[in-house]
Amino acid sequence: MSEYVLELRHIAKSFFGIPALKDVTWGLKKGELLSLIGENGAGKSTMMNIVGGILPADSGELYINGELYRPTQPSDAKKAGIAFIHQELNLFTNLSINDNVFIDSFPRIGVLPLIKKTEMSRRVKKALEAVDLHVSPDTIVEKLSPGERQLVEIAKALSSDPQILIFDEPTTSLTNKETEKLFGIIDKLREEGKSIIYISHILADVERLSDQIIVLRDGCITDEDKKENYTIDRMIQSMIGREISQLYPTKTNKPSKETALSVKGLSQSGIVHNINMDIHKGEVVGMFGLMGSGRSELARIIYGLDPYEAGEIIINGEKVEKHNPQKAIEHKIAFVTENRREEGLLMEFSILDNLSLVSVPSSAKGKLKIVNDECVKNKAEDIVNKLKVKCPPIENNPAKSMSGGNQQKVVIGKWLLTDPEVFIVDEPTRGIDVGAKYEVYNIINQLATDKKAVWVISSELEELMGICDKILVMGNGEIHGELAREEFDKENILKAAFNQTVEDKTEKGGR
C-alpha cells in the first residue's frame, strides 16, 4: 500500500502546444489537508480537471491508494471516491436540496423509474446534519444564502461518501461568519480521516487550514513544504517568483479639502438608513462591511441604479436630481461593480468594444452620433498600454479570452476612458491573483494622486488598511464608524462592523 491516497506522477498537459503543466509530481496523504496555491493560470485548474476526469493528461500517471487510476469522465472520479466542491456553485436553484443532492443518482423504488422519497429525505437529512445546516431537505435552493448553498454543495459531495474532497475557492461568496463555519466543518472532516485538497487565493485561510502547502507557478511546483515552515511572505514569493517587498504600493496621494462626493441623510427603507459621507478629491475612502451590510447597495443607489427615498447626493457641489446611471456618468462617476462577469463585461464581445462602451458617445461625430472608430481604437490601445493589460489583439478577441486580473483591468480601463472624478470600486480584487492585485492597488493610488476621489468597497480588511486614507465601517445599512489612517485597527473596525459584543470580535479575530 502506498502512503498516499492520491498520487500524481509526472503529469504533463499542454493546450495547442503551450504547456499548462510540466511534469508535476505530488501526493496527498490520508487525513491530510493539502493546499494548492498559485496565480491564475499557474495550472491549478488544469490539474484538478485532470484529477476529476474532465481533461486527459498528455503523459504521467495517477494513483489512488496505490492503484492506477485512469479517469475518462467525471463519473469515474466520483466512483474513485473524489468529490469536488466548486468555486462557482453548481446547484440548481429552482430545485430542492433533495433533488440537488441526488440529481445524478436518485434512489429508486426497485427497478421502477420512480423516486424513493423517504430514502432520499433520510439520507439528505443526515448529510445536512453533518454540515451543521438545519433546514428541511425540501427547501428550494433559491431561498438559501450563498453560505448555506455552499454547505449544501458540501452535503452533496458527502452524500457519495468520498475519501478525497477538493475545495476550489469555497469562500469567495461567503461572509466571515459563514467562512468560519465552513472551516469548522473542514476541520471535522479531516478528523474523520477524509483527505482534502484546498485551493484558494486567500493565503491567511491557507495558513489557517493546511497541513501541507504546494505552490504552483507556470505549470511547475515551485515550493512544497509543511505548513509550519511557511510564512505568507514565502508563499507569495514562491507564487510570483520574485520577492515583493510590500503588498501595497507606497501611498503618494494627498487628500484635499474639496469634497467630490457628498451624501446627506440618504435612506431607502430596508436597505440603507441615514447615510452621511464625504469623499474628498485625492482621497481613497474604504468601506468595510460584511455581506448584506448594505455597502454594495449603497454604491448602487449613489450610482443611480437603485432608487432612494430620502436624502441628497451631491457631486462636485451639484445636487443630483432624478438619478440614473447616465446622469452619474455625466457627473463623472465611474462604477466598477463586484460582479465582473455579470455587470462589468460583455464576455463574448471584443476587448475593444468593452473598453469603449461607456466612452463611445463622447467621441461620436455629429447629430447622428457616428462612432469615431479610429479615435476609439487609439484611446483604447493607450489605456491597454497604460494599465499594462496582458491581452491578445483587442479588436478581434473576446473579453473572456483574458485572465481575471486582466479582465478587471479592462473594466477599470473602460471607466478611465471617461475621465471620471469619482471612482467607485466594489471588491476590486475579488478572484484575481496577488500580482494583479498589486497592480490594481497601484492604479487606485495613481488615481488618487491625480486628485480623483476613490471609494473602495471591500470585505478584505487588510487590503483597505493597506490602501485607504479613511475607512468607513458599515453594518445593517448604517455607517457605524469612521477611522482615519492613523486609527486603523483591525479589532476596532471589526467591532464597529458587528456593532456588538466582544465574543463576535474574538470569533472574527482569526481572519
Binding site: F15, F16, G17, I18, Y303, L305, P325, Q326, A328, I329, F335, T337, E342, E343, G344, L345, L346, M347, E348, F349, D353, S356, L357, V358, V360, P361, A364, L368, K369, I370, V371, K390, C391, P392, N397, P398, S401, M402, S403, N406, K414
Partner: protein, 365 residues
C-alpha cells in the same frame, strides 16, 4: 505566439484550409446560395430565364425589409411575432385611405363605412399625393405599434414573446374586423406601379428597400446607437451599468421592427393591387428563418443587416426553385423546415469551431 499559430496552420493542407475559411466566413450563406443556384440550373433551366430572375428579385425585397426589422429585435435577444399582423393592419388602413371606390354592397357593413370610406373612395381618393401620404401613414402606424410592443417589453420587462404574440392576435383580428374580412380594391394606378414598375432597370420597391437597408446598416455599423443595441442584447445588466439607455434602445428596436413590417406591407399590397387583412399571415417562419439562416442569433448580440440579406436571398432562392420543381405547398414547407433546422445546426458547429480557433489564437495569453 504568432509563430506557433502559423505552425499549426502550416500542418494543414491548403485545400482544407480554404474550405475552413469559407465555412467560417461571414459570406458562407451567400457562397452556399450561389453554389446552390448553379447546381439547380441543369435540373430547372427556367431558373435563369429573365422572367424568373425578375420574379425572384421581386419576392426578395419585401421579405428583406421585414426581416431587417426583425433583426433589430433579435439582436436584443427578443422576437417580434406581431410583424405579420402589422402587415395586415397597415395594408388595410393604407389602402382604405387611397382607394378610389368602394362597393356599397360589400363595405356597407364594415365599421369604416360612412366616416372614413364612402362610395367614391377613401379620404385621399383622387388626390395626387394619395399614394405617398398613404404609405407614410402606414409607416407611422407600423412604428406606433412597434413602440407599443417596445414599451411593454422595456418598461415592464414583459417577455417579448408574450407581448408580441398578444399584439399579433389582436391586430390580425382587428384588421379582419375593420373590413369584415373583405379585400380593399380600386387602388390608384400609381400604387400598383410602386409594386411592379421600375425606374429604368431598378424597381421602385428595390429603391425603397435598399434605402431602408442602408439606413439600418448605417445605424448598426456606424452609430453609437448600433453599439448600444449590440451591447444591450449581449448583456443588459452590464449595459445598464455602463450607462447604455437600454429602455430607449429597446423602444427603438421594436419601433424599427414595426416600421419595417409596414414598409414590407406597402410593397406586398402594391404588388397584389389590394389591401388584405390577412396579407402577412403565413410568413412568420420565413422572416425569422431568413434572419437565423443569415447567422443572427436568437439569444441576442449577434447579427448584421448584410447577414440578413444573405439569409433572405437564400430563402427566396430556395422557395423559388421549389416552385419551379412544381412541388406542392406542403412539400415546400417540409423542405423549408428542414433547411432552417440545418441552418441552425450549421450555426452551432460554426460557433464551436470559431471558439476553438479563438482559443488557439488566445492560448498564449
Amino acid at each position: 505566439m504568432s509563430a506557433l499559430k502559423s505552425e499549426t496552420y502550416r500542418q494543414k493542407k491548403p485545400a482544407k484550409q480554404v474550405i475552413q475559411r469559407i465555412f467560417l466566413s461571414e459570406y458562407f450563406i451567400l457562397i452556399m446560395s450561389l453554389i446552390y443556384f448553379v447546381c439547380v440550373i441543369p435540373f430547372a433551366p427556367r431558373i435563369i430565364s429573365q422572367s424568373n430572375l425578375l420574379n425572384l428579385l421581386s419576392n426578395l425585397w419585401p421579405l428583406l425589409v421585414i426581416a431587417i426589422g426583425q433583426t433589430f429585435v433579435l439582436l436584443l435577444g427578443g422576437i417580434d411575432l406581431s410583424q405579420v399582423s402589422i402587415i395586415g393592419v397597415t395594408s388595410v388602413i393604407g389602402t382604405a385611405l387611397m382607394s378610389n371606390s368602394f362597393d356599397p354592397a360589400i363595405f356597407e357593413g364594415t365599421p369604416l363605412w360612412g366616416w372614413l370610406i364612402h362610395e367614391n373612395g377613401g379620404p385621399l381618393a383622387g388626390s395626387a399625393a394619395s399614394v405617398p401620404v398613404s404609405i407614410f401613414v402606414m409607416l407611422i402606424i407600423g412604428t406606433l405599434i412597434g413602440l407599443f410592443n417596445g414599451f411593454f417589453v422595456a418598461r415592464f420587462k414583459m417577455p417579448p414573446f408574450m407581448v408580441t404574440l398578444v399584439t399579433q392576435m389582436f391586430l390580425l383580428s382587428f384588421a379582419i374586423y375593420l373590413t369584415q374580412s373583405r379585400n380593399i380594391m380600386g387602388l390608384p394606378e400609381s400604387f400598383s406601379a410602386f409594386g411592379t414598375k421600375s425606374l429604368g432597370f431598378i424597381p421602385y420597391a428595390a429603391i425603397f428597400v435598399v434605402l431602408i437597408a442602408l439606413g439600418a446598416h448605417f445605424i448598426l455599423a456606424k452609430m453609437v446607437l448600433g453599439k448600444w443595441i449590440y451591447a444591450s442584447g449581449e448583456n443588459e445588466v452590464a449595459s445598464v451599468v455602463s450607462g447604455v439607455p437600454t429602455k430607449k434602445v429597446t423602444l427603438f428596436c421594436y419601433a424599427m421592427s414595426g416600421f419595417c413590417a409596414a414598409a414590407g406591407s406597402a410593397i406586398y399590397s402594391a404588388r397584389l393591387g389590394m389591401g388584405r387583412p390577412t396579407l402577412g399571415e403565413d410568413i412568420m417562419m420565413d422572416i425569422v428563418g431568413a434572419a437565423i439562416i443569415g447567422g443572427t442569433s436568437l439569444s441576442g448580440g449577434k447579427g448584421k443587416v448584410m447577414w440578413t440579406l444573405f439569409g433572405v436571398f437564400f430563402f427566396t432562392l430556395l422557395f423559388n426553385t421549389l416552385n419551379l420543381f412544381n412541388l406542392s405547398y406542403f412539400t415546400i414547407n417540409i423542405v423549408k423546415g428542414l433547411v432552417i433546422l440545418a441552418a441552425a445546426f450549421l450555426d452551432v458547429i460554426r460557433t464551436k469551431l470559431m471558439t476553438r480557433m479563438s482559443i488557439v489564437n488566445g492560448a498564449g495569453v
